[in-house]
């Protein structure tokens, strides 16, 4: 099976080359037979990539240590779930995983469009086969997971304990599913440009793919944050590390695209911009893969100085050059069909939304690449830290938050004063009241105060929309409120799913703002000693050291400290933090010691305990109060749910009946 897998990889390479040639030739010569052959080549290529993946999984599950990859990332007694996830745990395997996802996506896109978009499809199939060809070639030639060792070691080296975490098993595939999905809209953009079918049809075909990518990236990023928070023990969930930034960049431009696409659908504007965003998002996900594998940028994650980096650099440069050329020869076909009519309009709000999202993406890219840029220009590597990203992105993020409230409610073309007053009076009042209450409660820091005020405003706009929609259905169909709510969402998935995503964003921003009030205490506590402090809400907490314990369990030696927390005299569950030293069967230490943090989750804040070390019977601990962290996960989950609602297929008939009950805020006063 392993031999079959290795051979399959090489056969897949040939099939992709076949598909590229035949599809492009068929598209050029308008020969349906060649196009059909190209599509069959892609299906075959996808099948052989899948077969190669089965081969690698077989090797991993049967612990065939004659393969270097299997010996490097698993051991005989590794739990089976981590043997499966070791597929994407290392360089070579994760490259094959990229190929697998891309192959399945490309085959699916070709199959779904077998009776549609025929002018575009040869180029779409050819382009996705070309991208697949690149990835399969890189995997087979420069990073082959089927590479053999000269002899067979008795056991493999195992998996780093920090990666033995359920979140770590699913976080990378989620991100890959998101990254790779950007290739399909890119292929459609190329197809539309080449075949000059630049009407709205290609946009309809790519919108769902862009959403797939967006949902997976959202889930992947949030899972990564959660893993960092519970496993790395520094008390936060985001540190603007290059790897984190690499995943954020395509998310930002993808989000911009999902908004600007609406402007093109309704008004025929932003046609050049949309093509550029689709191409840019794909390039950024390739850049992200390049950053994480080439070792050009210093990061806490360790990266190989592997030859894969050079392959990616050439692919990136080639794709960029080809895209610029292709867009430039089609500029005439991309003239807008309408002009911006007024600054107080939905078009303008969406334009600013795009400007801000791309601005954030640019600043993140700039900060991430700054060491390379400064070295090239000034001959010295200069790095920027968290404060760089925060000082730029906090104001831009707040502007974006405000637009989240304004964009969906303001009228198309030109909003009248009456429209603005009707849509925004109540939410704005809510925002100001919340802001004033928080101010009197003692919130004096500018950014969190503004953030929470805006959060209340946006939440107000969303609630108002749901209230109006439910009210309209109740009047028209005489439905009970819960039924009306469910049908409202089910029949207008795109619109109300979007509001649910926005609600998730509001929760997320409110939670981010909470971190401005985090408090950190480094204390040393002997047995029975206690430490009293105030939390960010001004309540008194006492932590009493219940003692250190030392024991052996399974494959590790553990030193644990337990603290008994009391809040305003009320006893709360024990907080336990451990230092673990993994050992092998002879008791020799393996890997470095790892820390398990203790977290008391509450809606207001997490109390986060880290055991730093032990001197005699005294424990050195760090206690963090992290306000509102739970809401980061809640907001992320809500965003993913909203995204799924938007994505869910809806029959044409349903959609029609849904629109009947729709109170479109733009339409009712659009003419005013």
């Amino acid at each position: 099976m392993i031999l079959v897998g290795e051979l399959s990889l090489w056969i897949a390479l040939l099939m992709c080359a076949w598909s590229v040639t035949l599809s492009f030739a068929g598209g050029r010569l308008r020969r349906e037979d060649l196009v059909a052959s190209g599509e069959r080549g892609l299906y075959a290529g996808a099948g052989f990539v899948a077969l190669a993946s089965v081969g690698l999984w077989t090797a991993l599950l049967s612990s065939d240590f004659s393969l270097r990859y299997v010996a490097s990332f698993t051991s005989a007694n590794l739990p089976i779930v981590y043997k499966i996830s070791a597929f994407w745990g290392g360089q070579a395997g994760s490259m094959l995983f990229w190929c697998l996802i891309l192959a399945l996506y490309a085959a699916l896109a070709t199959w779904v469009n077998r009776g549609k978009n025929r002018e575009l499809m040869p180029w779409v199939t050819g382009t996705s086969a070309l991208v697949l060809l690149f990835f399969v070639a890189t995997t087979a030639i420069s990073s082959n997971p089927f590479e053999r060792l000269e002899w067979v070691p008795a056991d493999g080296r195992g998996l780093n304990p920090q990666l033995q975490n359920p979140a770590m098993a699913i976080h990378p595939p989620m991100l890959y599913l998101g990254y790779v999905a950007t290739a399909i809209p890119f292929a459609f953009a190329v197809g539309a440009l080449v075949s000059r079918r630049l009407d709205a049809a290609w946009l309809g075909a790519v919108r769902r793919w862009a959403l797939v990518s967006w949902v997976f990236l959202t889930v992947g990023i949030v899972l990564g944050m959660w893993w960092a928070y519970v496993e790395l023990g520094w008390g936060g969930y985001w540190m603007w590390d290059p790897v984190e930034n690499a995943s954020l960049l395509p998310w930002l431009t993808g989000t911009a695209f999902l908004h600007s696409i609406m402007i093109q659908e309704k008004r025929g504007m932003l046609r050049k911009w949309n093509v550029v965003l689709v191409i840019g998002t794909f390039l950024l996900s390739i850049l992200g893969t390049f950053i994480t594998r080439s070792g050009v940028i210093q990061s806490v994650h360790s990266f190989a100085q592997s030859p894969v980096g050079a392959w990616f650099a050439w692919f990136l440069a080639g794709t960029l050059a080809a895209s610029v050329w292709l867009v430039s020869i089609r500029l005439k076909d991309l003239e807008p069909k309408a002009e911006l009519e007024a600054m107080i309009s939905r078009e303008a709000a969406f334009l600013y939304n795009n400007l801000v999202l791309v601005g954030i993406a640019f600043s993140v890219l700039w900060g991430t690449l700054f060491p390379i840029l400064s070295e090239a220009v000034r001959g010295a590597k200069i790095t920027v830290g968290e404060s760089f990203f925060n000082s730029v992105n906090v104001p831009l993020g707040l502007l974006l938050l405000a637009l989240t409230g304004i964009g969906p409610l303001i009228a198309w073309r030109r909003a009248s004063f009456a429209n603005v007053r009707r849509q925004f009076a109540a939410p704005a009042a809510l925002g100001l009241i919340v802001g004033a209450v928080l101010f009197t409660l003692g919130v004096r820091q500018l950014s969190p105060l503004v953030a929470w005020t805006l959060c209340a405003f946006v939440a107000g706009t969303i609630l108002q929309e749901f209230h109006k929609g439910v009210g309209a259905r109740r009047r028209m169909y005489d439905e009970a409120a819960p039924v009306a709510l469910a049908r409202l969402v089910a029949r207008n998935r795109r619109r109300y799913g979007g509001y649910i995503v926005h609600a998730g964003i509001v929760i997320l921003f409110a939670a981010f703002a909470g971190m401005a009030f985090r408090a950190e205490h480094d204390v040393t506590l002997a047995d029975g000693e206690s430490f009293t402090t105030l939390d960010p809400y001004g309540r008194s907490w006492t932590f009493t050291n219940d003692g250190l314990s030392q024991y052996k369990v399974l494959n590790r030696e553990v030193v644990a400290v337990s603290l008994r927390p009391e809040m305003e005299g009320r006893a709360l569950p024990l907080l336990i933090s451990e230092k673990r030293q993994h050992v092998d069967s002879r008791g020799n230490p393996t890997f470095q010691p790892s820390t398990e943090v203790g977290i008391l989750y509450t809606a207001r804040q997490d109390v986060y305990l880290v055991l730093a070390g032990v001197i005699g019977n005294r424990a050195e601990v760090r206690i963090n109060f992290n306000p509102l962290v739970m809401w980061v996960w809640a907001g992320g989950l809500l965003m993913a749910v909203g995204g799924l609602i938007v994505m869910w297929p809806q029959s044409e008939r349903r959609r029609q009946s849904g629109y009947a009950a729709e109170l479109a805020p733009g339409v009712e006063v659009g003419a005013a």
Binding site: S75, P79, E147, E339, T590, P593, L611
Partner: protein, 160 residues
């Protein structure tokens, strides 16, 4: 005025402000990222660079790590093969820190030649493997060299 021009002015204002903030924070918080050899050369050329915040990326010298029993202080030597500095770090020591790992330290080089670090980042092991120099795939030597850098484990950890 044409609405499009109004938008362009507004957009320029937004981007201009963002650019201004970016430039300002690079000036205020950007720090040199150096290897020990570069640090040595820079300090020789410009002694005022001592007591200026810099970041240094280097490898921990095997056997040089002296941990304070508490776990909030450590001294070690870092090197890039050319220059070597003693580092004194106070703070929580990351789990991934140990002998022979690659670290990034941020801090100041004191007048006594000791680097006082305020942050210590250690690269986490075995994410994507580095190919060592002169590495020939598939040979026993290559595998064992890599194995020596990340010791083998019978990782039967229960899923957490």
């Amino acid at each position: 005025m044409h609405p499009r021009n109004k938008f362009i002015i507004g957009g320029a204002l937004v981007l201009g402000t963002a650019g201004f903030l970016m430039a300002g924070s690079i000036r205020d918080t950007g720090v040199y990222f150096l290897t020990p050899a570069e640090l040595q050369a820079k300090v020789a050329a410009d002694p005022t660079l001592r007591e200026t915040g810099v970041k240094v990326g280097a490898r921990v010298v095997a056997g040089s790590v002296v941990r304070d029993s508490g776990g909030r202080q450590v001294t070690f030597q870092m090197t890039d093969g050319t220059a070597t500095y003693t580092v004194d770090y106070r703070g929580i020591i990351p789990d991934t820190f140990s002998d022979s790992v690659d670290v990034v330290v941020e801090g100041r080089l004191g007048a006594d030649g000791t680097f006082r670090a305020t942050t210590l980042l250690a690269k986490c092991a075995s994410r994507y493997e580095a190919a060592p120099e002169g590495y020939k795939p598939g040979t026993r030597e290559a595998y064992e060299r890599a194995a020596a850098e990340t010791p083998a484990t019978p990782a039967t950890d229960t899923p957490r």
